[in-house]
């Protein structure tokens, strides 16, 4: 226990916690984005959209060993703990850093720091706000500007992204994710002491690739749905027929 106290007590230990939780959240985002790309796959023999089949799988993941929802909730709890640690630790470090320079420069030039690096705290804050709205919209259904029907992922997405302002909101939020990951996905490895001159290009490439993958992976389906390139959900048979207005 004293080891954990000592570790978390040091700023390098805190940074390592931010790095590890950040990488966990990045891993989740990559899987989430791959899951969303299933929206492009053809329906199964029963006519259900592939993404709906996948969504159902998430609820029964781990069967027959685990009862329904157990694996999903375990992952949710792990992610929630990771997110909390990430945000709380970063806030502590930011407060520490503010104390380190009580008198500001009149003129302080940045000659190396990239914009994404300098705006990490801001992009992170926006992502956190977005995340809450996103969960209220698609997970709990508390905010429902468009119909949200449990299990009907494809049609839920389709109707949501018929509205230009929802699409615009997501494009904005995902750009923030892209900027955050562009710095964070490399910075995490540097913080953990994994980066070195041999690996630097690869890790920088990984961060750029991960950022680009997330932005393109998440935004492709909604954008194509808005521009009517994707099939209307009614084309997918009877199971998820939702009216344009409210759920029936």
């Amino acid at each position: 226990m004293s080891r954990i106290v000592k570790f978390y007590g040091s700023i390098i230990g805190k940074k390592a916690v931010v790095a590890v939780t950040g990488l966990m959240l990045l891993g989740f985002l990559i899987l989430h984005s791959i899951g969303n790309l299933k929206g492009f796959l053809p329906p199964n023999s029963a006519g259900e959209p592939d993404i709906d089949v996948y969504a159902h799988f998430l609820t029964v993941m781990g069967e027959p060993l685990l009862p329904d929802m157990v694996a999903l909730w375990a992952i949710r709890i792990i992610l929630l703990v990771a997110l909390t640690l990430h945000v709380v630790t970063v806030s502590k470090l930011a407060a520490h850093n503010r104390r380190a320079r009580p008198v500001a420069y009149r003129n302080h030039k940045h000659v190396a720091a990239s914009l994404p690096a300098r705006w990490m705290f801001v992009t992170g804050g926006i992502i956190l706000t977005f995340l809450i709205i996103h969960l209220l919209q698609f997970t709990t259904g508390t905010i429902d500007p468009t119909p949200i029907v449990y299990g009907c992922v494809y049609s839920n997405l389709y109707y949501a992204f018929q509205k230009w302002w929802i699409l615009l909101f997501y494009i904005g939020a995902l750009s923030m994710v892209g900027l955050h990951v562009f710095h964070g996905a490399w910075s995490a490895f540097q913080t953990l002491g994994i980066d070195n001159p041999d690996r630097n290009r690869k890790l920088r490439g990984f961060a750029l690739g991960a950022a680009a993958f997330l932005v393109i992976g998440f935004l492709s389906l909604p954008t194509l749905m808005y521009f009517d390139v994707m099939k209307h959900p009614n084309a997918y048979g009877e199971s998820c027929v939702v009216s344009d207005g409210r759920a029936e």
């Binding site: 040091s10 390098i12 230990g13 104390r99 940045h110 000659v111 990239s114 002491g193 001159p197």
Partner: protein
């Protein structure tokens, strides 16, 4: 050449300080930045003003005594250069130049542009040493060292402890300084006996002094007059994580089979 200088003037640590505009005329392009300040001080003294306090010593870029944030950059706009090696020809004629001290809570202003950098000495005292035997002089090359590792340790050892990394860091972190010192000693065989306690003690002292934390901006490396790589920060992080997470505290305790 002629320059308009906006210089930070502060009587002492208690004074709040403010920028004061000074003008210098007739400066040769081959005057170094510090010589230009000497000329200005000469003028100030002759006209009954207070000369500007600033640090300098060797004036050949190796002692680490000169400082100054010039136009927002530690040691001025030229890369891999200390303030004393900066010349007025690096500025356009008639330029307005802002000169500030290192800004860090751990480097209190002594007067004007001179700051107290003894926080660095305390970090060194915490663990920046190696054990040596006090017997007869050892043979040179007595201890075999991989030449690549030795070169890397020497790269770290080029740190002159000027504090530009702290001044340049948006977070006021002293990670590059501490990392250079930790890496320099822990890479070499002579530094092994204290390897894991050194990194913990030095990082601990660095935090106690109130330096900020690293966000991997890379500003320190870019503004370091010796261009020390942030690779050493990664190295120090690895050493600290290993020391606190992996290495056992109890090296000689009992083991039970059941």
């Amino acid at each position: 050449m002629k320059f308009k200088l906006e210089i930070w003037r502060q009587q002492n640590g208690q004074d709040t300080g403010a920028f004061v505009t000074h003008e210098v005329d007739d400066v040769s392009p081959d005057t170094s930045f510090l010589e230009m300040l000497d000329i200005l001080n000469e003028n100030l003294t002759q006209t009954g003003g207070e000369p500007i306090a600033f640090d300098s010593d060797c004036r050949e870029g190796i002692c680490g005594m000169c400082s100054l944030v010039i136009n927002g950059e530690a040691h001025g706009p030229k890369r891999a250069t200390t303030t004393c090696q900066l010349y007025m020809r690096h500025f356009p004629d008639g330029a307005s130049i802002t000169v500030e001290p290192w800004r860090s809570g751990a480097f209190p202003v002594v007067r004007d542009l001179a700051v107290d950098r003894s926080a660095f000495d305390r970090i060194m005292r915490a663990g920046g040493y190696v054990t040596v035997h006090s017997g007869p002089k050892p043979d040179p090359n007595d201890v075999p060292v991989n030449p690549e590792i030795s070169e890397k340790a020497l790269d770290a050892s080029t740190c002159i402890g000027c504090g530009a990394c702290v001044a340049a860091c948006p977070n006021g972190a002293a990670m590059l300084y501490t990392a250079a010192k930790v890496s320099h000693l822990s890479l070499l065989p002579q530094g092994q006996p204290e390897r894991y306690e050194r990194v913990q003690k030095m990082v601990n002292q660095m935090e106690k002094e109130g330096f900020g934390s690293c966000r991997n901006y890379g500003e320190c490396e870019a503004q370091c007059p010796k261009s020390i790589s942030i690779d050493f920060i990664g190295h120090m992080n690895r050493e600290l994580l290993r020391a606190t997470v992996v290495e056992p505290d109890d090296l000689r305790g009992d083991m039970k089979t059941q």
